[in-house]
């Protein structure tokens, strides 16, 4: 499986309702040891939201210093972020990911680092 298969895929709950698309994938470094790198990066969950444009600018992490207009715009764009833990993923298809439960009970993403 490739990261690019996950990025941009649409999240559908059991009722077929969409929770938006995958903006990013959160990894935690606590997997089995791999060579010189140490613990491998384990897939913890998916950061999901309506708008994919500019998800990479980093404003959803809150540490960015500005400039103000860009920060406000980014803040407004990403106010609806959700977090899908690996455990809730049932199947991964080419452009869709089916999850258990419903969209409403998806938590908001906690701060990453």
């Amino acid at each position: 499986m490739r990261l690019s298969d996950l990025l941009g895929a649409e999240i559908l709950d059991e009722a077929g309702r969409s929770a938006g698309r995958v903006h990013d994938v959160r990894l935690v470094q606590d997997g089995p040891v791999v060579g010189g790198f140490g613990a491998a990066l384990r897939l913890d969950g998916l950061l999901v939201g309506r708008r994919a444009v500019g998800a990479r600018l980093g404003y959803d992490r809150g540490k960015m210093k500005g400039p103000l207009p860009v920060k406000l715009l980014a803040g407004w764009l990403f106010h609806d972020g959700r977090y899908v833990e690996w455990g809730r993923i049932r199947t991964i298809e080419s452009d869709r990911i089916l999850i258990s439960g419903t969209v409403e009970d998806l938590p908001r993403p906690g701060p990453s680092s």
């Binding site: 990479r56 600018l57 980093g58 540490k63 960015m64 210093k65 500005g66 400039p67 103000l68 207009p69 860009v70």
Partner: protein, 409 residues
């Protein structure tokens, strides 16, 4: 003492390196047609390039990552690819214009048709990129470019009605008989000439080439804040020369020979000789920078080794791209497409494409992960936001104005 020399050298090369064929053509044509009424745009452009180059230089110095490397990281592979194609096309157009500019400068000195010089110029540009050390190359052509100061000397010697010039500059108004669209089109061309994207690709990559560290940040700021404005003064002296000599006679400067008239008529043979050295150095230096920038942008997008600080064999694809760009650039000039026309398009398209690279740099300059405590100050963010808005407006207005004014005619 050595530090002082380094700072002085940096400022001098910044002045010499500021003016290129785009500035020469844009300022002279604007002066010949609109007098000093668009001088304020040069000021806006110089402030803009100071802000943009300082940010890009600081980002490259602190994060050790050059502009296009970060453009891809912040916009993602797909959006950055569109950005790469646009920026590369404009940098290539500018490269062709600069090669043509060098050939035209030699034509003026020899009266031998410029097309004959193009292959020789292209070979020399490649040879310098291939063999000469980065800072030696920068210093030689930066210092030689200072010869353009002769345009300011000519102005001083002429001792014109300074009040009249100043009045023209401080009371911008569309001269009668001219349309507003053309006036604004020339404003965009002037802005594009002062704020060309390749200058930032080159400036930020240069910070990595020369291995700048945080200690160099002060030198970086001095180079930019003193060097570029003085370079801008050279642009304004070209505009003033055209205002005084060409505009009253209705001369439309479509040739480098006409651009040299104000200085030749005021300072005679010696002035003309120094000016031709200035033309040659400014355009040759810019040809080197744009040739390298073609290599920088592609290498920094795909991630393969770039830079003159390594042996050519260690950066094969980078040197291959630079070589191919120079050959194609010379080829474009050899199609007898007028280099002045190519220049006019390259500066206008530069203005339109500025947000593509300006925006990501503005964002990265605010990311503590990269910049640590060297993130943008409140002032540079405020000014940065104003320029972001200005550049977006310019980007939207350029193509309609180009069509409306039939590219300024």
């Amino acid at each position: 003492m050595k530090r002082l020399f380094a700072v002085a050298l940096g400022i001098l090369t910044a002045i010499g390196g500021f003016v290129d064929i785009g500035d020469i053509v844009a300022n002279t044509e604007t002066g010949a047609r609109f007098g000093m009424s668009l001088a304020w745009v040069v000021v806006v452009g110089v402030v803009g390039i100071c802000l943009f180059a300082e940010m890009a230089g600081r980002v490259a110095t602190v994060s050790k990552r050059a502009t296009f490397d970060l453009v891809r990281e912040r916009l993602g592979a797909r959006v950055a690819l569109v950005n790469l194609v646009a920026s590369l096309f404009i940098t290539f157009l500018t490269l062709a214009a600069e090669i043509g500019g060098v050939a035209l400068a030699i034509e003026l000195a020899t009266s031998v048709n410029y097309l004959l010089w193009v292959p020789i110029v292209a070979f020399c540009v490649w040879l310098v990129i291939w063999r000469v050390k980065f800072d030696l190359m920068e210093n030689v052509f930066g210092l030689l470019g200072l010869a353009l100061v002769v345009t300011a000397v000519a102005l001083w010697r002429l001792d014109p009605d300074w009040g009249g010039l100043l009045h023209g500059a401080t009371h911008p108004a569309v001269p009668q008989g001219e349309g507003h669209p053309s006036w604004w089109y020339f404003a965009i061309a002037l802005l594009g000439a002062a704020m060309t994207p390749y200058e930032v690709f080159f400036f930020s990559s240069g910070a990595v080439e020369e291995g700048w560290s945080r200690a160099d940040l002060v030198t970086n700021r001095l180079n930019v804040y003193i060097g570029f404005p003085l370079g801008g003064l050279l642009s304004l002296s070209l505009m003033a020369g055209a205002t005084l000599f060409l505009e009253p006679r209705g001369i439309q400067p479509g040739h480098l020979s006409q651009v040299a008239l104000p200085t030749a008529l005021t300072l005679g043979k010696l002035g003309l000789a120094v000016l031709l050295v200035g033309f040659f150095a400014a355009t040759f230096g810019a040809a080197l920078e744009t040739g390298l920038s073609c290599g920088y942008t592609i290498a920094q997008y795909f991630g393969f080794q770039w830079g003159k600080f390594v042996r050519p064999a260690d950066a094969p694809r980078f040197h291959l791209v630079a070589l191919v760009s120079i050959v194609l650039g010379a080829g474009l000039v050899l199609t007898t497409l007028d280099p002045i026309t190519v220049t006019e398009y390259s500066i206008v398209l530069s203005a339109a494409a500025l947000p593509l690279t300006y925006f990501p740099i503005l964002v990265v300059a605010n990311d503590p992960d990269y910049m640590g405590d060297k993130v943008n100050s409140r002032f540079s963010n405020a000014l940065g936001s104003v320029y972001l808005l200005l550049l977006l407006v310019v980007a939207v207005a350029t193509i309609p104005l180009m069509v409306l004014t039939k590219a300024g005619s």
